[in-house]
């Protein structure tokens, strides 16, 4: 990992289209501004990680998952 030290209002260019600026540093929180073209997806990394983990958990279910779900849905239908 490349590590750079920046001060407030200093920035970093990623390629020639993406600019990241440190806007504010307060206690353990950093406020970051990002200028990027619309086709660049920007996500908090923990959300991306959460989706990866959820996919892995979902894919770990066995073949019975569909049956369980189906039976439960049928039960729900009767109750309604």
């Amino acid at each position: 990992m490349l590590v750079l030290t920046r001060k407030r209002n200093q920035g970093i260019m990623l390629g020639d289209r993406i600019k990241i600026t440190v806007l504010e540093v307060k206690d353990d929180t950093v406020k970051i501004g990002i200028d990027a073209p619309g086709d660049v997806t920007i996500l908090r990394s923990e959300l991306y990680q959460a989706v990866r983990e959820e996919n892995a958990t979902a894919a770990a279910g066995d073949g019975n998952a569909a049956e369980l779900l189906k039976d439960f849905l049928a039960g729900q239908g009767e109750k309604r």
Binding site: L43, L47, A50, G61, D62, A65, A66
Partner: protein, 176 residues
Amino acid sequence: MKVRTARFGILEIEANMIIEFPKGIPGFERLRRFFMLPVEGAENIRWLQAVDEPAVALLIIDPFKYYQGYSCDVPDQIAGELEIKESAEALVLTAVTVPPDNPAAATANLVAPIIINTRLRKGRQVILSGSPYSTRHNLFQEIKSPAGRDRTGKVSEPAGDTPPDTAKKVSGKGGV
């Protein structure tokens, strides 16, 4: 072609059933080819099975059938990537996680819908940025009490000092 799967044995599928995921899906970035398998007796549930990895299959549902008011705004660059020309050719699905011992606790990943261009059979799992959804929405809780109906009744009674907006916090843990 024959496809080996961990759950369903060896399946014979047609080449035109294969859906290309040029970027894979998060967690399975190397798996580029999937196909959908119906679940007998449950038309709203399907499996999305990886062609090149027998163990990887996700249960998927149509979120609009289970979550009233679900909306997903497909970003322009994703629609462009999938070459979606009209909304009718876009299929929106969400993966469901079913705990093996407790189907009542099944959850749907509403923050990361799987969008498929049905015309070109090209797909992508999109992570919605700035949406009110999370990776785990209880499937059955929300079926029983869709947003806007009686689930909020108890809290929204003018009962003393209960802040009125507590009732509106459904299960959106996330956003970005």
